[in-house]
């Protein structure tokens, strides 16, 4: 099964993923119109930096997801793709999920006492953030494929020693 994976060493911090995420979660689905929409569309991927490198971070869809256990209203659930989804109408805004998420990728929905998070673009084959990344720091692939690629990198590194 494909997963949304990150190659932080490639990220240049351009924040194209953030814009694409907001556009995908807008009414119009175009950048030029999305920026004028009320309420403003909200992105669910966050490009972080510590001054040295960048990390585009979104929900990791953990197997033992702390947010799922912490959600008292039942708003957070796992859909048929295995993605943790928030049924917004059930969310009571207790912020428990935000408090327990180890990655800090669940955020408050603009101007509402509810949360929002990555839904891994249910209407798309490939998540919008992945599609928007100009350097392929975000990829949508089998976990083992990435692991294999990283093993190859280790080998290539040894060769140059």
């Amino acid at each position: 099964m494909k997963e949304l994976l990150i190659k932080p060493e490639l990220c240049l911090g351009c924040r194209s993923c953030e814009l694409a995420c907001a556009v995908e979660h807008s009414q119009s689905k175009t950048l030029l119109s999305a920026i004028r929409e009320k309420p403003r569309p909200q992105y669910r991927v966050h490009v972080m930096t510590d001054g040295y490198g960048f990390l585009p971070l979104q929900c990791r869809n953990c197997e033992e997801a702390p947010c799922l256990n912490a959600c008292l209203s039942g708003a957070l659930h796992r859909d048929e793709r295995g993605v943790v989804i928030c049924a917004t109408d059930l969310c009571v805004g207790c912020w428990m999920c935000i408090m327990v998420c180890p990655f800090g990728v669940i955020t408050r929905k603009h101007a509402e006492r509810r949360i929002t998070k990555c839904d891994r673009c249910p209407d798309r084959d490939e998540p919008a953030c992945v599609n928007a990344c100009p350097v392929k720091a975000l990829v949508y692939e089998e976990v083992d494929d990435q692991a294999r690629a990283r093993r190859r990198q280790v080998l290539a590194g040894l060769r140059t020693l």
Binding site: C14, R15, S16, E18, L19, A20, A22, V23, L31, L32, A34, I35, R36, R40, P41, Q42, Y43, H110, N131, A132, C133, P134
Partner: protein
């Protein structure tokens, strides 16, 4: 030839489609593939929300409101958008005007006798320009008149006083001049800050933009945009107009003539030379040298039937308008011409020249010759052009081309058999002459409603738009609505290739326009020249306004840049708007991130200048909007 569906999406031009198929079959990369590899493009850049002015940046404003709403210095979205936009205007005005400086300097050299390679070709134009500028003509030697014109023009580039440019005062219609002064006075009174609209010097207004957009200077969108307007007027009614007028004096004012357009003008049995770029100073000489008996003899010795000079882009438009030199194509065809394998030499000067050509030419026998001190291309051969030794330089270039003929690989030659005839050469003088010497017949046609109005379509191709599609569909939709279409640059080449510039094209026009075109023997789409020749459209609009005793924004005129790409197009659009003409654009310029700037350009400008910008992706909807604007203007005029 079978054309892939994907290629048909790239261009509507049949010659280009064939060449794109050849390129695809041979795995040759063109601008379309390079643009594809650029996807996705940066959303901040697209919205104008990235500021790279200082090294605290790049700063970006979050258009979704979550992240930063100010740059590190505190500049908000509108400041950043406005600064970036007027820097684009500065780039465009600089390119056009620096082009104009060159013929002005040359005119001075010719007048003084220092340059013997060029001469004063059009004495009627010399006298007309002088008269317009208030330079005495009677009983004076033509070189003395020329020197005065050159000095006045050069003075407009670099003068340091506060007065408006001599060329602007001499050429802009009376009411518009007064309007600009009033706008400046009103804005100054309203803001308590001196705001100027009339340009003081062509160079100064561009420098002023670079100064005020430097870190920590001007941050007010209105103040920034008005300076952009000022520099653009210095381009349209200054630098570009100087280019047009002096080139006419030096090389002749275009007259109506028939010519051929599209890649099929390349000849399999002749030495093919493509002149590409924007300035006619060298290409005039290449044309002259290539037609000399000595060169013809040399070509025959190489086994060629002759020497075939063809144009590309606006250098092409210049020699097309003045000499009827065939035009091989517009901007997106520059690589395709090389891919025919039939080009011995491409000579380039400045502007709109892909650096990709140097590498591409290495796949063929084609010499890629750069000639300007301002334009070097890694991988090109540089032959420095100096006006003082123009004959020598042109001879060297043409000889190189001829001697390269035997290196052509005939197995790789593919020239699409696609050309169209076009009637070109519609300078303002040629239009007035076709009208019998005065603008009255055109005004009468407009008054009667036979011609509802005039739309000027200008420049560029952009691979984000299907090549030539918007240019052609818009022009067709307009003439069908009895709207006369005039234009320049890449639009004009697109229209010529599509057969819209034949007298027979009148059949595609509405009944009113058709009758007018047939009576005057002109096509319904008029080729007015290269992109600096957008000044011809201003002069024509000015002549119509002055004849009727109204301002330009009273006239049923609209402008359009439907496949725009360059900073020059931003400057052109702005001086049209400043002159009182509503201007349609596609694609969307990088301003959407600034709501206030967008409002200034699309609404406030209309209230102040009478011209404003509007954006529309669909050619038929754009044509309908243009007709609506024209009908409203007609109603206001009471016609």
């Amino acid at each position: 030839m079978n054309i892939d569906e994907k290629i048909k999406q790239k261009s509507v031009d049949p010659a280009s489609r064939e060449m794109l198929q050849v390129a695809a079959d041979q795995n040759i990369e063109t601008v379309w593939e390079r643009l594809e590899k650029q996807q996705p493009q940066c959303g901040f850049g697209e919205l104008g929300l990235c500021c790279r002015t200082c090294s605290m940046g790049p700063c970006r404003i979050d258009p979704f409101g979550e992240g930063a709403q100010k740059g590190a210095c505190g500049a908000g979205a509108d400041t950043i958008v406005a600064r970036h936009l007027i820097r684009m205007i500065a780039g465009g005005a600089a390119a056009h005007s620096d082009h104009g400086r060159r013929p002005a300097l040359l005119l001075k050299e010719v007048a003084s006798g220092n340059n013997q390679d060029y001469e004063l070709v059009d004495i009627d134009k010399l006298k007309a320009v002088a008269a317009r500028l208030g330079i005495a003509v009677k009983g004076r030697k033509k070189t003395a008149i020329a020197a005065d014109i050159a000095n006045l023009a050069l003075n407009d580039f670099g003068k340091q006083d506060e007065a408006a440019l001599a060329f602007v005062k001499a050429y802009a219609p009376v009411k518009r001049l007064a309007r600009w002064q009033k706008i400046a006075d009103d804005l100054s009174a309203a803001t308590g800050k001196t705001i100027g609209i009339l340009p003081r010097s062509i160079d100064r207004e561009i420098v002023d933009i670079m100064h005020r957009t430097h870190f920590g200077v001007d941050h007010d969108p209105l103040s920034l945009i008005t300076q952009g307007v000022r520099a653009s007027i210095g381009d349209g009614w200054g630098g570009s107009l100087i280019a047009t007028e002096i080139q006419d004096i030096l090389f002749g004012t275009p007259k109506i003539r028939e010519a051929t357009a599209n890649l099929g003008v390349l000849d399999k049995d002749q030495v093919n030379i493509v002149v590409h770029g924007h300035e006619p100073v060298l290409s005039e000489k290449i044309v002259e040298v290539a037609t000399s008996p000595a060169m013809l003899k040399l070509a025959r010795k190489q086994g060629a039937r002759g020497i075939n000079v063809v144009g590309m882009c606006c250098t092409g438009n210049e020699v097309l308008m003045r000499h009827g030199i065939p035009i091989a194509g517009n901007e997106l065809q520059q690589e395709l011409a090389i891919i025919t394998g039939a080009v011995e030499l491409m000579s380039v000067d400045v502007q709109c020249i892909f650096p990709a050509l140097a590498e591409l030419c290495k796949c063929y026998h084609t010499h890629f010759i750069a000639t300007s001190d301002q334009a070097a291309f890694p991988g090109s051969t540089h032959i420095q052009f100096e006006e003082a030794e123009a004959d020598q330089c042109a001879t060297k270039i043409v000889t190189m081309a001829v001697e390269n003929y035997s290196n052509r690989n005939r197995d790789r030659v593919y020239i699409p058999a696609v050309t169209n005839k076009a009637v070109v050469g519609f300078s303002v003088e040629a239009i007035l002459s076709a009208l019998g010497g005065t603008p009255e017949p055109l005004l009468d046609a407009i008054k009667s409603g036979a011609v509802k109005g005039v739309v000027g379509i200008v420049g560029c191709n952009n691979p984000k738009v299907t090549h030539d599609f918007y240019h052609i569909e818009l022009a067709k939709a307009l003439i069908a609505r009895d709207i006369l279409v005039i234009g320049t640059g890449c639009w004009a080449i697109a229209a010529a290739k599509a057969g819209l510039m034949q007298t027979g094209t009148a059949a595609q026009a509405g009944p009113g326009l058709k009758a007018v075109c047939e009576a005057l023997g002109i096509p319904p789409c008029l080729h007015m020249g290269s992109c600096v020749d957008c000044s011809r459209m201003l002069v024509l609009a000015g002549a119509l306004a002055d004849t009727l005793g109204v301002d330009i924004d009273d006239l049923p005129l609209v402008g359009s840049a439907p496949e725009w790409l360059t900073e020059k197009a931003v400057s052109i659009g702005t001086y049209f708007v400043a002159s009182g003409v509503p201007v349609h654009l596609w694609p969307m310029p990088p301003i959407a991130g600034g709501a206030q700037v967008t409002e200034l350009l699309t609404q406030t400008a209309g209230e102040v200048f009478g011209g404003y910008f509007f954006v529309e992706e669909d050619p038929l909807k754009a044509a309908a909007e243009m007709e609506k604007i024209i009908l409203e203007k007609r109603q206001a005029l009471g016609i």
